[in-house]
Amino acid sequence: MNTKFAKTGQILLALLAFYGLSACSVEPWVKPYERDRLADPIMALDGDPVSTAYIQHVYEAREGARGGEGAAGGGCGCN
């Protein structure tokens, strides 16, 4: 499992390096005036932060996993 994550980490680093190196040279392929749909409230990744935080809290209380979902998260051992 550690090997899997080491590989994931390497891929992530490679991606970050790619972004870092090419940040100055890439033309944005979606222009600001083409982002009306992405700005629609129905496209918000977290339109209701209080609600999202609460339901993440419920999942984390009822499952053994934590993090990586939505914005962030965690696990817990409560009853």
């Binding site: 972004y19 129905i42 999942y59 984390e60 993090g67 939505g70 962030a72 965690g74 817990c76 051992g77």
Partner: protein
């Protein structure tokens, strides 16, 4: 049998930057939410109130108050202890600072229960790149917990927790946005529940088993990677898919996937969601141990059992302030109601009230989670 550690993980969530796309401060808003969880003999309800306000063009402040009122007669409680009620109160204060394409966020969260106190300090940086198509976020949080026992004022144990996160949000097309999150959480200290017991075979007992306290390792490190994609459908609706892979040093491995559909209709918006989670159990979890102190570490926390959970969500929102017109100081306002039905199948954890030893059924949990909240943007 109290709420444990939960606030600390929630604190990490609250501590992350509120704006998914850096370079823009989050909107000023206020939210008032009532939440209620009912299932498995447990009822938890209470309010959550959030207020966010900009100060000038570069600063945004946010505060949140959250309360859990717990009444528990869960399967763990009724088999080894007595039903109880308690409260958990949480405050958080945060600040976002925008400079150019960089957003820096700081957050402090405090949570207090009768037998559990915690503080979390968090910091994150988001950077916009590629003409705001890409946002990279790095986050760190440090938490300290103090664990007590309501029946022993001299009992005091400590935990520390560190969280490291890397997030990448990417606009791929004019209809598609994606996020990739990688998170590592490390815990060190007293990680088990001071009230919970494990059971072991005991021929001398009338029921054939007895109980003894849980004993967990003093460290835990988890890694999770999650990918989300949200797509704007041609008739103005949105669909989102999410997948997470999880693994930790307690040998829990999990896969979580969900699918969400959002459909606006006039001032209304309807949302349906299905979420699936499957996990293996912790290496030291047993429903019943072969004898007392059979292993170095031992747990019978059902959340550490192999399990599969399913969640079905229905949500409706109503925009009572037209965003095109506003109303006084308010730019927008919505009233929202949601119901999540949670069904959990435990693959090793048994309901010891269901029959004699050897004939006990596997435990199943059904719970309903209600939320009603009003949001204002100003």
């Amino acid at each position: 049998m109290k709420l444990r550690h939960l606030f600390a993980y929630l604190a990490f969530f609250l501590a992350l930057p509120a704006s998914v796309l850096g370079g823009v401060l989050p909107d000023d808003r206020g939210d008032m939410l009532y939440h209620r969880y009912e299932g498995g003999g447990v009822t938890i309800d209470g309010p959550s109130v959030l207020v966010r306000k900009k100060a000038g063009k570069s600063l945004s402040f946010v505060g949140n108050y959250y309360l859990d009122m717990v009444s528990s007669a869960s399967i763990d409680v009724i088999t080894t202890a007595s039903p109880y009620t308690e409260e958990r109160e949480q405050w958080s204060l945060g600040m976002d600072y925008l400079r150019g394409n960089t957003t820096m966020s700081m957050n402090y969260v405090s949570s207090v229960e009768s037998d559990f106190d915690a503080s979390t300090y968090a910091f994150s940086v988001s950077e916009d790149m590629f003409g705001d198509l890409t946002t990279l976020t790095l986050s760190y949080a440090y938490g300290e917990d103090i664990v007590g026992r309501s029946d022993d004022p001299t009992f005091r144990r400590e935990n520390t927790r560190q969280h490291y996160g890397v997030g990448l949000t990417q606009i791929l097309t004019r209809n598609l946005i994606t996020t990739l999150n990688f998170e590592t959480v490390t815990d060190e200290g007293f990680l088990n529940n001071p009230y919970r017991s494990v059971r072991y075979l005991d021929p001398g007992s009338a029921r054939g088993f007895s109980f003894e306290p849980e004993l967990y390792p003093e460290t835990r490190t988890s890694n999770a990677v999650g990918l989300r994609a949200r797509y704007f459908l041609p008739y103005r609706a949105a669909i989102e898919g999410e997948y997470r892979f999880y693994t930790d040093t307690w040998e829990i491995q999990g896969h979580t996937a969900s699918l969400t559909y959002v459909h606006p209709w006039g001032p209304f918006s309807f949302e349906g969601k299905f979420r699936y989670h499957d996990q293996t159990g912790a290496a030291f979890f047993r429903d019943i141990f072969s004898r007392s102190e059979a292993t170095n570490f031992r747990a019978r926390d059902k959340e550490l059992s192999p399990l599969t959970s399913y969640t079905f969500r229905a949500k409706v929102s109503y925009e009572f302030i037209d965003p095109n017109r506003g109303w006084g100081i308010f730019k927008r306002g919505s009233l929202n109601f949601s119901l999540d039905h949670l069904f959990v199948e435990y693959h090793e954890f048994r309901d010891i009230t269901s029959g004699p030893l050897g004939e006990e059924a596997l435990y199943e949990l059904k719970a309903n989670v209600y939320q009603i909240f009003v949001s204002f943007w100003y």
